[in-house]
Symmetry: C2
Subunit: 526 residues, 2 copies
Amino acid sequence: MISGQNYIGNQASSQGSQTLKAYNPTDGSEFPESFTAATSGEVDAAVEKAESVFSAYKSVSYEQRAQFLEAIADEIMDLGDALLERASGESGLPTGRFQGERGRTCNQLKMFAVILRDGSWLDVNIDTAIPDRAPVPKPDLRKMNVPIGPVAVFGASNFPLAFSTAGGDTASALAAGNPVIVKGHEAHLGTNDMVTQAVLRAAEKTGMPDGVFSMVNGGISVGQQLVKHPKIKAVGFTGSLLGGRAIYDLASQRPEPIPVYAEMGSTNPSFLMPDKLAADPEGLGNTFASSVALGVGQFCTSPGLLIGVKSDALDTFTSTLSQALADASPATMLNERIATSYYDHRGALIEQIGVETLGDASNPGENKGKPLTAKVDGQSFLNNPKLHEEVFGPFTMVVECEDANQMAEIANSIEGQLTGTMVASEEDINNHPEVAEALSRKVGRLLFNGVPTGVEVCHSMQHGGPYPASTDSRTTSVGTAAINRFVRPISYQNWPDSLLPDPLKNSNPLGIWRAINGERTKAPIE
Amino acid sequence: MISGQNYIGNQASSQGSQTLKAYNPTDGSEFPESFTAATSGEVDAAVEKAESVFSAYKSVSYEQRAQFLEAIADEIMDLGDALLERASGESGLPTGRFQGERGRTCNQLKMFAVILRDGSWLDVNIDTAIPDRAPVPKPDLRKMNVPIGPVAVFGASNFPLAFSTAGGDTASALAAGNPVIVKGHEAHLGTNDMVTQAVLRAAEKTGMPDGVFSMVNGGISVGQQLVKHPKIKAVGFTGSLLGGRAIYDLASQRPEPIPVYAEMGSTNPSFLMPDKLAADPEGLGNTFASSVALGVGQFCTSPGLLIGVKSDALDTFTSTLSQALADASPATMLNERIATSYYDHRGALIEQIGVETLGDASNPGENKGKPLTAKVDGQSFLNNPKLHEEVFGPFTMVVECEDANQMAEIANSIEGQLTGTMVASEEDINNHPEVAEALSRKVGRLLFNGVPTGVEVCHSMQHGGPYPASTDSRTTSVGTAAINRFVRPISYQNWPDSLLPDPLKNSNPLGIWRAINGERTKAPIE
């Protein structure tokens, strides 16, 4: 079932001599298969094939494209338990988790099928002509979104299904009409291989042109070649700030710069406001402990900063939280690199001036992530940007402020975030409006209570925030709006109706919402 | 009326010792005023003031913001003929032209006032909660666009009103709720000074916070300081590829990269298809001659490439065109730099292999732009990327192809364009679908006949194309969608109705279109 090959469209290919191996992080054991890294010729062939079918693929009807996406979901389901077990084996996460993640991945694909049918993503605007306008006639102008060309996708290690081979980036780029080339993630080579074949089977079954999807394995040089290739027109990435920024820099230095949508994580600050905190400090401590430990803290929305005003309630919260995290069992992290990096980054942070460690900061080994709480005073936090950095893993830091003013100062001092949470009563918000106001400038999603982990896939989700949360705060990598990253508008001026694309025709043959002279309607143009 | 000062919000300021002078390109004479270049302290003060009022300005109601934009239009009209005369004096363009451009500028400001009232720019999406969903409850999520922070604007020399101080970039950034700092254009210092004061009067009259608009004069270093300033969150630019790319590079290399919306011009290829061309080669030759010579060719949509198949009809077209352009009087260009650059670039191009000059290629001096036609065969054009470059001014080149296949090859070989025109009958499009298909990939606006000069300000305009036409082909610098450049979405999760911003409240107090669970409606949420 696992081929270990690259796929230049439907063509399996392994011309190179360098191979990669997949590992089980639980015990460090190797999986039996070898995966051949793509040669530079294979990477080039994949992009050239994508480019050569772009015109054919974007001409496929939206209905057929929707069926392609639905077929991918079906083929992923047909992989059955073997997929769940492989994903679990390569990530150390339980199979139950992958049941959920698989559902999310398939729902995501189906969601884009829905918007392909309803046409909302086309954002059609029509301004009709006024031939006798003085001093010059007003032309007929009709605008819609079109795909941009071949897209390179780099998946994330922490979501081997939902943010990888057939995850949100691939689904939205394909939905928009762009061929996709996935760089297989080195931390889940087998999972990627299985899903790649599922996508290709779906493409064949639904009659998509060969080349609409390719997958290349390899290291940094394969990734760099993709990003620099003149026929790649955009990049989707989920991962670390270091990786995302390197890709962004490479893409912006090209002769023709291209957009890079890098979602790079966050500390996801939560502000524990006095009134709300006083009402149930223990309950909140336990709730946040669960959120911090969830998935061994390996979520980009994991709450890494908890900011409150010095008080008995905050003390109770902090001791409940740190006790719950101390009691939580260490669990296997995604891979050795992630585990090492967790202890390195955490270690560098807790040795900073003013930081107090609340619990056992040892490393149990075997790639296990042991949860930990730290505490720091507000002024030390403000003085030291090092403390603002994300530690990817089950670690959180309580910031003890002098007063609500210092909370607002902290909200003003932090960098861009995917999420920010106001743990607050309505009274808290009204008493200290400056905190939520400052926080709102820094985040893509602003929660009123609850925890930031859990990212709903829907129209109104914003998963992306000011830098360094993402490289383009105007876009989201989750939800229907993710498709906007891979389209651009084109205006047709004075075209005869018969030659216009369907979304722009007078009769509105697709029956979609359009804005005609600024008014939204599904009506045809008489 | 002209102060020669910088404006840190409402505060006139001239602390520097370096001064700039305004020139009349017609005779090279100096205007009497001196303009003080901003010091680095003044630039910093302008940005800090913008940042300090951002929170206040974005809290101003959309209705008040609309009134501010309308007041700017009123204040510009109140400058009367003095403005038209000054703009004419600084640009060499006739005052009649500025009557039109002033109207366009004011209409643009008023257009953004309209969309501030109708709320379309907010792009509200609401997904309501499903508290009893298994396995996890669905949260309530409500998304809307919000401003991003202080914006730096660099205007264009060729539209001293419509693409400068209070032009489309400023109007759309202000409409979105962002304070604006304009870098005064050195080629129309007096015009910029007058319009700056008009904007500030409008801000005061409508009670906007001091700092919502600032203007600094100076050279490259002032511009660089603005682009690099950590509190600047986006840049709007209209001008040359060289200038736009330099700003893009600077912005993408910042610790926190920011979006740069640079509109950098185009050769605007027109494909003269056989059937249409044969019907009226002389008429088309004259039509395109007028478009090439319009405004001394100083439009980013000026038709610089005319591509046809070798034929008697193309010969007739070419001789009519070249004769009409030879007969057109040379006219004063915007400034000495633009005139020099016109002859330099044109000279470098017409000395390339295969290029034939059809007319007198001399430079009459006195900053006058003399129209010229050149001709080249299709293969030479394909072989030589130098021939694909824009010559800013009244110059155009006929490319004589072997057949329609070569036309398609040329469409495939050119770089990104603001516009492309199919001079065609419906039969032509059906006979040679590959030409329009290839062209559609390269352009933001695709015309069916007519000429590309003339850019309608409306909802459906796309003024921006694949690089190097602009740095972000997903956006437009003309029309209502220009506001999308200066906003980002934010999602509110589980907020109580009373604390939500008005656009997201259940009752829909603004009465705007919203998408609720994917369905568009103006209805409240019960």
